[in-house]
C-alpha cells in the first residue's frame, strides 16, 4: 500500500518543492541560464512587496471572493429552504438546479460570453428593446468585475444549496416540533432553529468556496482577460500572465507559493472546523 502513497508524494509534494525552489531563482524562460541561479534567492519575494499590479490583483481577489462567497451563501440558503419540502416536483428541481455547478467551467464561460456580447445577447437585445442602451458589460470599467461576480455566483450557488440541503435533512424533526408547540412563527423557526443548526455547514461551504474563488480562471480568461486595464485581474490570473505570457517563471512561482500557502492555511482551517484527523470511533 505504501507505494501508492509514494506516487501521491511524487506527483504532488515533489512539484511543490520544485515550485518553491524555482521561486528562489529569477527564472526567465528567454534566458535559460537563470534557471538555477540562486545568487539572490529572495529577489522575487522582494519584488512582490513592491509590485503595484500585484497589490491591485490582491484587492480584486478580495472583492471577487467577498461578493461571490456572500452571494452564493445567501442564494444557496434561500433556495435550500425553499426546496426543502417533501414534494416530487421540488425534489426534481433540486437536481435541475445543480446543472450550473456540474457544467465544465469552460462551457459556463462560453454561456456568459454569449450573454455579455451585445450582438447576440438576449439580455442586451431585451434591454435595448426597452429603450435601455447598456454598454458591453465585460469591457465597461464599472461593470467588468460585477459581470464576473454574477457569472461566478451563477456557476456555484448550487454548491452551497446542495450542502445546506444535505444539512437540513439531518435537522431533527423534534427540534422543529418543540419550537412549534411553543408557538414559534415560520420566520422564528428559521431564524432560531434552522439557521443555528446549519451554521457549521455554512462555515465549511463558505471556506470551500473561498478557496475555490482563489482559483478563478476560465471565466476571467474568456470574459475579460483580466481587463479592462487590470480591473478583473485576480492574483491567480496575474501569476498566469507573468509565467506564460511574459515568461517570468521565477517571479510567478513566488506569487504562486504565496497562493499555495493561503490554500494550505484555509484547508487547515476547514479540517479544524470539521474535526477530521481526530478519529471519532
Amino acid at each position: 500500500m505504501a507505494p501508492s502513497l509514494a506516487v501521491l508524494a511524487v506527483v504532488t509534494l515533489l512539484p511543490s518543492l520544485y515550485l518553491l525552489v524555482t521561486s528562489f531563482t529569477p527564472l526567465n524562460l528567454t534566458r535559460p541560464e537563470t534557471q538555477w541561479d540562486f545568487s539572490q534567492p529572495l529577489i522575487s519575494y522582494g519584488q512582490l512587496l513592491q509590485d503595484e499590479r500585484l497589490a491591485n490583483s490582491v484587492w480584486v481577489q478580495v472583492k471577487l471572493s467577498f461578493w461571490t462567497v456572500t452571494l452564493q451563501l445567501l442564494i444557496g440558503v434561500a433556495l435550500a429552504l425553499l426546496l426543502n419540502v417533501k414534494s416530487k416536483l421540488l425534489e426534481a428541481l433540486r437536481t435541475v438546479f445543480l446543472i450550473p455547478m456540474v457544467l465544465p467551467p469552460i462551457v459556463v464561460a462560453i454561456i456568459w460570453k454569449v450573454i455579455y456580447t451585445p450582438d447576440i445577447s438576449p439580455m442586451h437585445q431585451a434591454l435595448a428593446a426597452m429603450g435601455w442602451n447598456v454598454p458591453a458589460l465585460i469591457t465597461d470599467p464599472q461593470w467588468a468585475l460585477t459581470s464576473i461576480i454574477i457569472a461566478d455566483t451563477w456557476e456555484w450557488f448550487p454548491f452551497t444549496m446542495l450542502m445546506v440541503l444535505a444539512a437540513l435533512q439531518m435537522l431533527p424533526q423534534e427540534l422543529l416540533d418543540a419550537a412549534k408547540v411553543d408557538g414559534a412563527s415560520p420566520w422564528q423557526l428559521t431564524r432560531h432553529v434552522t439557521l443555528p443548526f446549519i451554521q457549521g455547514v455554512l462555515l465549511v461551504a463558505g471556506l470551500f468556496r473561498l478557496i475555490d474563488s482563489i482559483k478563478a480562471f476560465p471565466l476571467i480568461y474568456i470574459l475579460t482577460d483580466g481587463g479592462p486595464g487590470s480591473l478583473t485581474e485576480v492574483t491567480n490570473y496575474y501569476s498566469f500572465q507573468q509565467a506564460f505570457n511574459f515568461s517570468y517563471l521565477g517571479f510567478s512561482s513566488a506569487i504562486t507559493v504565496v497562493l499555495l500557502a493561503a490554500t494550505i492555511l484555509l484547508s487547515w482551517i476547514i479540517i479544524r472546523s470539521v474535526g477530521w484527523g481526530t478519529k471519532i470511533d
Partner: protein
C-alpha cells in the same frame, strides 16, 4: 402544515425560478441548433428551423481529434487514479499511527491547490522529459487532483467497513493484499463507481492544465472550443455546438452520481 394553495404557489414559484436560473444554459443549447442568421435575429423566434449544420461543420475540423483526446485522457486518468488511489485510501483508513491530520491536510490541499501551483513545475519538468503536448503528460498531471479525489472519496467508505472482515481472512491465512482484493474490494462497488465517474468528470472538465501543457497534438476539447473564439469573425454556432458536446457527457454522468456530489466535492465534510 401549509395549506394546499400555499404549497402549489411555492411549487410554481420554484419551477419559474428554475427556468429563469437555467435560461443562460438553455440559450447556449438552443443556439447550437440555429443558423447564423437565426442567432443574430431579434426578437428570437421560439420555433425556428432546427439545423445540425453547426455540429456537422464542427466535426469536419480538428475538434474531432480533440474530443477523442479528451475521452482518452479522461478514461486513462480515471483508471490510473483508481488503481493507485483505492489501495492508498484503504491503507489510510487502517492507519493507526500519528500524523493522520497532517495526511488529511496534504490530501485536501492537493485537491484545493490552484492549478498554476502544479502547472509551473510540471511545465518546467515536461520540457526536459519531452512530455509537453502529450496525452501521457496530461494523465500524469491529472493525478494531482484525481488521486486525492479517490483517496478523499474512498477513505470514509472504508472507515465504515469493520476491521473484523479482513482480520477473519488473515486468520484463515490470507495475506494483507489478498484480504484487500478478495474481501474489501468486492464490497466497494457503488462507492467505486461514483468515484470513477467523478474522476472522469474532473479530468474532462479541466481547462487550465490542458491550456498550458498542450499545443496541437494533445489538445483537449475545452481548449479546442476556445480556439474557435480566436478566429476572425466569431463562429458562434460552432462554439455553441462544441460547448454542447463537451457538456453532454457531464450532464448524463452528473445525473447518475448526483447523490455523491456533496461528498465528492467536500470529502465527507457533510454527508449527502
Amino acid at each position: 402544515m401549509t395549506s394546499r394553495g400555499a404549497r402549489l404557489s411555492m411549487n410554481v414559484f420554484a419551477a419559474v425560478l428554475a427556468v429563469l436560473a437555467l435560461s443562460p444554459f438553455l440559450w447556449l443549447l438552443v443556439m447550437s441548433f440555429k443558423t447564423n442568421a437565426e442567432i443574430f435575429r431579434f426578437p428570437p423566434r421560439l420555433f425556428f428551423p432546427v439545423t445540425f449544420d453547426n455540429y456537422a461543420a464542427l466535426w469536419e475540423t480538428d475538434f474531432r481529434t480533440s474530443f477523442a483526446n479528451s475521452l482518452v485522457v479522461s478514461v486513462s486518468s480515471t483508471v490510473v487514479s483508481l488503481a493507485i488511489g483505492v489501495p492508498a485510501a484503504y491503507a489510510l483508513s487502517r492507519w493507526t499511527g500519528s500524523g493522520g491530520a497532517a495526511i488529511t491536510l496534504w490530501i485536501l490541499a492537493s485537491r484545493m491547490a490552484p492549478p498554476i501551483a502544479f502547472t509551473i513545475p510540471y511545465f518546467l519538468a515536461y520540457r526536459y522529459l519531452e512530455l509537453l503536448d502529450t496525452l501521457t503528460g496530461l494523465v500524469v498531471i491529472y493525478l494531482t487532483f484525481n488521486l486525492s479525489l479517490v483517496i478523499w472519496m474512498m477513505r470514509p467508505f472504508y472507515d465504515q467497513l469493520p476491521r473484523s472482515l479482513e482480520e477473519a481472512a488473515w486468520i484463515d491465512g490470507a495475506t494483507r493484499w489478498q484480504g484487500f482484493t478478495r474481501i474489501i474490494l468486492p464490497l466497494s462497488g457503488p462507492g467505486l463507481a461514483a468515484t470513477a465517474i467523478l474522476c472522469f468528470l474532473f479530468a474532462w472538465n479541466d481547462f487550465f492544465f490542458a491550456l498550458i501543457l498542450t499545443r496541437t497534438e494533445a489538445m483537449t476539447a475545452p481548449v479546442a472550443v476556445v480556439n474557435f473564439m480566436n478566429y476572425e469573425g466569431w463562429e458562434w454556432g460552432r462554439i455553441a455546438a462544441g460547448g454542447t458536446m463537451i457538456m453532454l457527457p457531464v450532464l448524463v454522468f452528473s445525473f447518475v452520481v448526483r447523490r455523491y456530489l456533496v461528498s465528492g466535492l467536500t470529502g465527507g465534510a457533510i454527508k449527502g
